[in-house]
Every structure is written in structure tokens, then in C-alpha cells.
Amino acid sequence: MKNPEGAEIEALLQALAEGRTEWLDQLYAQHREGFFRWAGRRFDSSRQDLEDAWQEAVFAFYQQVASRNITALRYSVRSWLFAVGARRLLNYHRKMRRVLWKDEIDEALLHDPVFQHFPGEEPLADERAGLLSAIQELSPQCRVLLRERFFLEKSIAEIQQLFDYQSANALSVSLSRCLGRLKEMLRAKARI
């Protein structure tokens, strides 16, 4: 995947919507050094800050595709990722330098409201730890099912086919039980 355009973008969106995260590796690797150069000229940031921002941008893209918020792109994938990475650096109060030559990404950052909300708000450290610890207490099977249904937002029929469930009803019962268990864990953590 040298330069995902047209059909290749469709294939990328399709793969990510199915949760095939190995495609993220290619996306991450393809533009990483370019982002470091581009953002390095605009922000007073360490390489680690840039790395964190880049990882967040790649994940945000995946999340948007998985939740069907992105089904087609107004910008190139590169521009989208760079703008979200830059937004993340801005959110973390990295000072932006003046640049003489503004490109499509600078314009998008400044004027497109889409990028004002990225990356989304993160829970505070304690809350985050509680949430993670609750879900990690579930069985691996439950985690997989919940991921398919609520992160990748697949339909019951799709998941049934994927995991060879005998009936949609059996799958719904499993899902409901797993979600109920997660909520119990969250309630218990909230009480502590």
C-alpha cells in the first residue's frame, strides 16, 4: 500500500471497519516520518510527543472508521491524520510556531470544525484505570464479543456468522450477559 488512493482507500476503510488492525501498521509506518518532519517544523515538541500524537491520530482514524463516522474522505488520509495529530499536540499545550508556507492541513486545522473535536476527551487517570480494570476482569470471549458489537458496531447477524453462533438469540443472550457483567464490575468499582 504505497499511496492509498481511490480503490485502495476503500479497501483500507473496509478493513478497518472490520477491525483488521494490521492495516493500521501500514498506515502508521507510511506517514510517520513525514508527520515527524511536518509537525517538528510547527511545534516545540520532543520526538516522543510527536510519537504519542501520531499514535493518537492513527487510533482516532480507526475509531472514526469503526463507528462509521468516516465512510468517505474529504481530505487525503495523510492530511486527516496530520490534522488530528496536530490537534492533539495543540490540546497538550504544545506551542505552535509560525510557518510561512501554509498547506492544506494548516487550512483544515484552522477552518474545518471537524478537527476541533479531535482527539476526543479522555477520562481522568483514576477513572481510566477503573474502566480498564473492570473490562480486563471479563473473560477473553466476552471482551471479543463486546468489541465486535460495541466498538466495531457490527450487527448481530455479522457477529453470528463470524463466530458460528447457532442462533441470533444465543448470541444476543451471550452479549447481554457480557455487557451486564461489565456493568456490574463498573458499579462495583464505583462503590469502592
Binding site: T21, L24, D25, Y28, A29, R32, Q48, E51, D52, Q55, V58, F59, Y62, Q63, P123, A125, D126, R128, A129, L131, L132, S133, A134, I135, Q136, P140, R143, L146, R147, F150, F151, E153, S176, L179, L182, K183, L186, R187
Partner: protein, 288 residues
């Protein structure tokens, strides 16, 4: 909560409700406390599912980043080495060009004595007229002794109440319990010897494999511990994930795999759930 309400909540979060129904949903969530709490709980559950996926993906990307950095650096290093070698050759050539040859050829029958291949060149005694300015050793960011000191300062075999062997009167403890008992009491060599005789199911149990890796680390065998810790972190089935992640970073450090150690420490530093978050940040500062 009624099944119908649960379904309604799920459809709301999936964005499947028409505008009017969405407004009705929000009105009820604002006025019916029990329903509002259920909506909030569902939001948190979705957040937890998203966070877990994010953890997994960021770990995967960090690994890819380490691989990319590892691929990039040798190239740069070779370029520098090549340039330095060329420069040295140029200086040597220039020096030779300026010298008059003074060496007498050896008589044709004199035996030529080559030094054995592992002979070190003689060092002139300090202070002798021929002694030249001592060469600075190449800059070493973190030598072996320093790495071992840092490892020793940060590593202690992980022990928490879940690892403490339970005391049961009379009955002979099972081999897995004996293994844990040896570990708990600091008899790492004996624990390692016993591990090989555990039943196959126990030998693939990630909790016991973690203890085995700890024994290796405690007995200076980091190279054996690394692949096991990497594997159990990939499996994500042990209750000692945080400790395994921290000790993997220390193992990398001890082995001199500094890029991998840094990347692992970065990951820990960014993980608010890790009890070793602050220690990872401090160690990262030491080795950066």
C-alpha cells in the same frame, strides 16, 4: 431495568433513533433518575470497551515504531562508520604520502614473525616519551555496569498476596504450589528446577510462566525471561500484566536493548493504570 429500555439505550448510543425519539430519550434520561443512571452506566461501559481497544492498538503501534526505529538506526550508524573510516583512510594516506620510506627491507631469508591474531598492541607505559595522548574511549551512553546497577536498583521479584502460597494443614502441596512456595521464599533455582516437572497444562499457564520469568530475572538470566514476558503480554491472560510490562522493560535494559527498554517504559509511563508509572518515568529520564 426492562429489556426494552436496554434496547432503547443501545439504539440511542448507536445513533439509530430518529430526532423526535432522541429528544424523548434525553427528556426521560434527565427526569427519570434510575433511567439516567442506567444511561450513564452504559456510556461508561462503551468507554471501557473503547479504552481497551485503544490500549491494544497503541501497544501494537508502539511495537511497530520500535521496529521502524531499529531498522532506521543501523543504516545511520553504518553511514557514520563508513564516513569515519573514509576520513581515517584519507588522513593515513596523506600522512604516508608525506613520509620518506626509511624502513630497511628484511633479508630474504629472515623469518617473518606475525603476531598471533589475538595479541593486543603494546601500550606504552604512562609517562614514557613515546606515549601519545591517550585516546578517549568511544562515548558509551550506558555501559554494562551502569545498566546492571539500574536494573538492581529497580528490580525486585514481584510478590503480592495472590502469589503467597496458602497454608493447608497436612496435605502434600501440589507441584505448582511447591513451585510458588520456592519462589515466595526466594529459592529461585529450586523453583526453576521444579517448573520443568510441572504438568503440561501448568507449564503453559501464563501466571506460572510469569513466576518462571521472575525466577530467571532474579538469577541474572534476563535473556531467557524476555521472550516469555513478551509472549504473556501478547496473550493478555495473566493477572500480572502490569508487573510483566515493567519487568520486561528492566530485562531489556539489562540486556542493553535500550531502544526496546525506552519504548516499553514510554508505554508504562503513559499507562495510568500501571503502579510502576512513576518509576518508569524516572528510569526513562535516566536512560534517555
Amino acid at each position: 431495568m426492562e429489556e426494552q429500555d436496554q434496547d432503547w439505550i443501545e439504539r440511542y448510543f448507536r445513533g439509530e433513533l430518529p430526532t423526535a425519539e432522541q429528544a424523548a430519550f434525553e427528556r426521560r434520561a434527565a427526569t427519570d433518575a434510575a433511567f439516567g443512571a442506567e444511561v450513564e452506566l452504559h456510556r461508561k461501559a462503551l468507554q471501557a470497551i473503547g479504552l481497551l481497544e485503544k490500549e491494544v492498538v497503541l501497544r501494537q503501534l508502539a511495537q511497530k515504531g520500535r521496529e521502524l526505529d531499529a531498522q532506521r538506526r543501523p543504516g545511520v550508524r553504518w553511514l557514520w562508520l563508513g564516513s569515519a573510516l573514509l576520513l581515517l583512510l584519507a588522513i593515513w594516506g596523506w600522512w604516508r604520502w608525506g613520509q620518506t620510506p626509511v624502513s630497511q627491507p628484511l633479508p630474504p631469508d629472515s623469518p617473518r614473525v606475525d603476531p598471533p591474531p589475538d595479541t593486543l598492541p603494546l601500550k606504552p607505559a604512562p609517562g614514557t616519551p613515546n606515549s601519545t595522548t591517550p585516546q578517549n574511549p568511544p562515548p558509551v551512553a550506558l555501559d554494562r555496569a551502569a545498566r546492571e546497577r539500574l536494573f538492581a536498583a529497580n528490580f525486585s521479584p514481584h510478590k503480592d498476596p495472590s502469589l503467597e502460597p496458602s497454608l493447608r494443614g497436612g496435605a502434600q502441596p501440589a507441584p505448582a504450589e511447591q513451585f510458588q512456595q520456592h519462589y515466595w521464599e526466594g529459592r529461585y533455582g529450586e523453583a526453576l528446577a521444579l517448573f520443568d516437572s510441572l504438568p503440561p497444562a501448568a507449564q503453559t499457564n501464563d501466571n506460572l510462566l510469569f513466576v518462571r520469568a521472575e525466577c530467571w530475572l532474579a538469577t541474572g538470566q534476563a535473556a531467557l525471561a524476555v521472550p516469555v514476558l513478551e509472549q504473556i503480554l501478547r496473550n493478555d491472560r495473566t493477572r500480572y500484566m502490569d508487573a510483566a510490562a515493567w519487568h520486561l522493560a528492566l530485562a531489556y535494559l539489562r540486556l542493553g536493548r535500550l531502544d526496546a527498554a525506552r519504548a516499553q517504559l514510554q508505554h508504562l509511563r503513559r499507562n495510568p493504570a500501571s503502579p510502576w508509572r512513576n518509576q518508569a518515568a524516572a528510569l526513562l529520564r535516566r536512560i534517555s
